[in-house]
Amino acid sequence: MKPVAFDYVRPASLAEACELLSGDEDARLIAGGQTLVPMLAMRLARPAKLIDILRLPELAGIGEENGAVVVGATTRQAQAERDPVIRASVPMLARVLPWVGHPPTRNRGTVGGSIANADPSAEIPLVAVTLGAEIMLATKDGSTSMPADDFFIGPMATSIGQGECVRAIRFPVWSHQRIGVGFFEVSSRRSDFAFVAATAQVALDEEGRCLDVALGLGGVADRPQRLDVSFLVGTTLEAASVSDAVNAATADIGAMSDLHASAAYRRRVAGVLGIRALGQARDNAAAKPAKGAR
């Protein structure tokens, strides 16, 4: 369990990090290292150089800007879990974070690292896709961004280019008064990789009619996916229409098969958890006062 020898550099700025990265195909970025270090230990990854971006000030911090919460890439998962802005404005992210790894890995693991790693069963990418987050990237020439849906292209595969670095994730904030989230996952043990995860967010009006809804699945296909349940908008999300909507949306989804779970199992559980997540989101939204502070 000893990694191959590598050079270690800690650039002073994000521009310098991107410059180093773009000029060297054998270089890898490291931040929290909670996935990369095991890969190095098992020699599944053998970079010649590690560029440590964890302490770059440009990548730190959680900020609000018009209609969104921008989470810096090196925000620790544990820090995001406790953050009052995330709890209030991106409740879905706050809801899933206790399911990301264990407390010691969340103390080192970063939000941006989970995004860049793109594990199909990871919770943070699932939230990014479900809410339609924007992945903000830094390059040596400046910055760019792309929707989460375009960013994830397969298991541990993203459309990030050579020399690019995840800078921040821009999670949209729903402005409605009554918002509720739901989340369920099935794994062999708590904190293990999810075979299936489902998360939902619902906004209700004063009468309990659905104003907006988002439902996403993780662990089922080769990347997280958002399901189209938009025809639930305007309904009161009664059980029968929720299960019809989820069954229709999951009827022809692609699913992975591996030694833990077959594709048929994943598809079936996806439907069940999707219904439960929507139900939980609806109940949580309904528990909020119809008027007054969110």
Partner: protein, 173 residues
């Protein structure tokens, strides 16, 4: 590479290869063998240390990444040589260890919990040690040890660490 670390309140310095984990550096360069090497790829939790007071796996961190942090190993918990911390003593009293391999990691995880909580629930304790695998004692007695330590800290004649850190916590619930 020259690496300067703060370990158990003492500044230490050594020449360490970048690929050396904090775990191996603690054991080989600084002879702090209480931090145990288990799976060495982030699964078992035997190598848990505290980094700025929070539990972290020292096998998932390179020593060259660890400068400027306050690192606490199991050797840093006892108040004086030959003595035990309240949590270490509670593990002995309740038979919270058998082979002892996972124990330093368990105790450091429990220590971090009891630094911020006066009256942890059983669920809080289970969550705190969720990243630490025990293969012989059984978790029942380990949970009991942490509950016992929490109870002793509540009635100790010294200010509770969690209350010192945040006076708005007033326990028991």
């Amino acid at each position: 590479m020259r690496v300067n670390l703060r370990i158990n309140g003492v500044s230490r310095s050594a020449d360490i290869e970048p690929r050396k984990t904090l775990l191996d550096a603690l054991r080989e360069n600084f002879l702090l063998n209480g931090t145990h090497a288990g799976c060495e790829h982030g699964v078992c939790g035997a190598c848990t240390v505290l980094v700025d007071g929070e539990p972290v796996r020292s096998c998932l961190m390179f020593a060259v990444q660890a400068d400027d942090y306050e690192i606490t190993t199991i050797e840093g918990l006892a108040p004086a040589p030959g003595e035990l911390s309240v949590i270490q003593d509670a593990f002995c009293e309740t038979h919270g260890l058998q082979c002892g391999y996972c124990t330093p990691g368990m105790i450091l995880s429990a220590h971090a919990l009891l630094q911020r909580t006066v009256t942890p629930t059983r669920e809080d304790i289970v969550e705190a040690i969720a990243g630490n695998i025990c293969r012989c004692t059984g978790y029942g007695q380990i949970i009991e040890a942490v509950e016992f330590a929490a109870a002793r800290l509540r009635i100790a004649n010294t200010p509770h660490p969690a209350v010192q850190a945040d006076p708005s916590i007033v326990g028991p619930k």
